[in-house]
């Protein structure tokens, strides 16, 4: 559904994106992960047909994005990374304005979303908080029930409750067979809803991973705090892959079957045990740190 081929866009500063290629299949949720300035928004601008790429192509629904940008907006729901709306309008005026710009007659979906996000859209946008603007931006992207969603950091500015509402909506849209590309720098949300994730660094895609595969990796990392120094020694001296964090805290990696791991722990005075369930973050950090050295 979304296809990016050797997309290159170099800015005057020398920054940009270089030979970015990936596909998002129909009905798939694709996470686009990278720190600020890595090139996520630049890629999205090309998908929206805003910018002229130096090289390469982007396609949505088999149509080239720059040439068919207006036409493609019929099937795209877009949430920009920056909430720069027509801020002299009230929230409701802006929602109506965007609906009219699309010739959208049916407003039931819009009104349902307003309710779901518990949004009071009567105030001037100029006076709204970032979170409120973000809600309006999300409603604009979702109100015409598009086939493809392009969402640039969709949860930024939302409180945890609203982040959950948003995640639920994403899951529903996925169920309905929609194609979603969402950029983010939050691992958790990407890991929760995405099927695949592409990691971008300094304008280059460093890896594209299947989340299901990532989650099924059966090596787990535990952070254990112990009561006695003797127990710390027992663990460090064991066959497991370990790492001392401080005098009484140890990081240990174990994999299935866990029997041996548990029997060792049963002999120790364990004060606390946490599972580090951040495989995506670990992977992300791995790619980022490797380049820094």
């Amino acid at each position: 559904m979304i296809k990016v081929e050797n997309l290159t866009q170099v800015y005057k500063s020398g920054k940009g994106i270089f030979d970015v290629s990936f596909n998002v299949n129909e009905g798939e949720v694709f996470g686009y992960l990278g720190p600020n300035g890595a090139g996520k928004t630049t890629t999205i601008r090309n998908l929206m047909g805003f910018t002229n790429a130096s090289k390469g192509n982007a396609f949505i629904d088999s149509k080239e994005c720059r040439q068919n940008s207006a036409n493609l907006q019929n099937v795209i729901g877009y949430l920009p990374g920056e909430m720069n709306m027509l801020d002299y309008m009230t929230g409701m005026e802006f929602l109506k304005f965007m609906g009219d710009m699309r010739n959208l007659k049916d407003t039931t979906r819009r009104d349902k979303l307003i309710k779901r996000f518990d949004l009071d859209a009567s105030g001037k946008i100029k006076k709204m908080s970032k979170g409120m603007k973000q809600k309006i931006g999300i409603i604009v992207a979702f109100m015409h029930d598009p086939k493809v969603y392009i969402l640039d950091e969709p949860t930024s500015g939302l409180d945890p409750l609203m982040q959950n509402v948003f995640m639920d909506i994403i899951k529903e849209e996925k169920q309905r067979g929609k194609t979603i590309l969402m950029s983010s720098h939050i691992f958790e949300e990407v890991q929760k809803v995405c099927d695949r994730v592409g990691i971008i660094k300094d304008g280059r895609i460093v890896t594209v991973q299947d989340i299901a595969e990532l989650n099924s990796v059966n090596t787990k990392t535990f952070v254990i705090t112990l009561g006695k120094a003797k127990d710390v020694k027992t663990i460090v001296d064991s066959d497991f892959d370990t790492q001392n964090i401080d005098d009484y805290t140890v990081k240990i990696s174990a994999s299935y079957p866990f029997n041996h791991f548990y029997s060792m722990l049963s002999k120790c005075d364990v004060k606390s045990l946490d599972v580090e369930n951040v495989t995506l973050e670990n992977m992300f950090m791995k790619y980022y740190e490797s380049e820094e050295s």
Binding site: T51, S69, A70, N74, L86
Partner: protein, 266 residues
Amino acid sequence: MNKTLFKSNIKSNWGVFAFIVGMLMIYVSTSISMFDPESADAMDAMFAMLPEGMIKAFGFISLGTDLTTYLAGYLYGFILIVFPIIYTIIVANNLVARHVDRGSMAYLLATPNTRVRVGTTQAVYLVGSIAALMIIVTSALVGMSEAMFAGHLEIGKFLVLNLVTLLVLITVAGISFLASCIFSDAKLSLAFGAGIPIAFVMFKMVADLSEKVEFFKYFSLYTLLDTDKILNDSSYVLTISLILVVASVVLYSLGVSIFNKKSLAI
């Protein structure tokens, strides 16, 4: 053309529009009320005492004895150039460059409207609102003249003068619009979109000052607004109208085309 966008332009720019119309109304009404068919000769005599250069610099070139030439001399040399241009400078910048600079253009283009359609709507709004401005001013002038000095105004000639003035304003606004389409930075757009029209005013003022620096008139579009010739020479009117229409079409379509082709960091 997109009606929704057009309406939102009215909403976001009506304040500037109302302010400029208000200012012009003050000048329009005072200029008519100051006209006295009996003492027009006395006014001329008074102006004769002032240095010629100073009178010319402010565009009060020939305050005729009849109402038509009096208004032409009093308003169309300076006031009806400067105030509408303030309006077009601000609005032309708002219509494109500001949306791009602030990023709100992303929302406009995230709808199924081509850039050509968005650009054309903005151009039509700019031209249409200048026309509305001139229609209001002209109607007020004709209405007040008829009410206070019935039969004194040569309405036909006066309407031609206003039409040519409108064409000049539309053309100059076309330069600001082009700048607004070229530059993604609103500051740069304003620098050129305001700088060139203001330079035109300056050059015209300098050129009128003395014959030694008269050549400055070739650097100003306002030189075409020669009220004497417009009121009396119909072939001149026809020629410059044609030039202005062609120049406008070129400026606005070039603006829309550049906006359509450029890379937007929004």
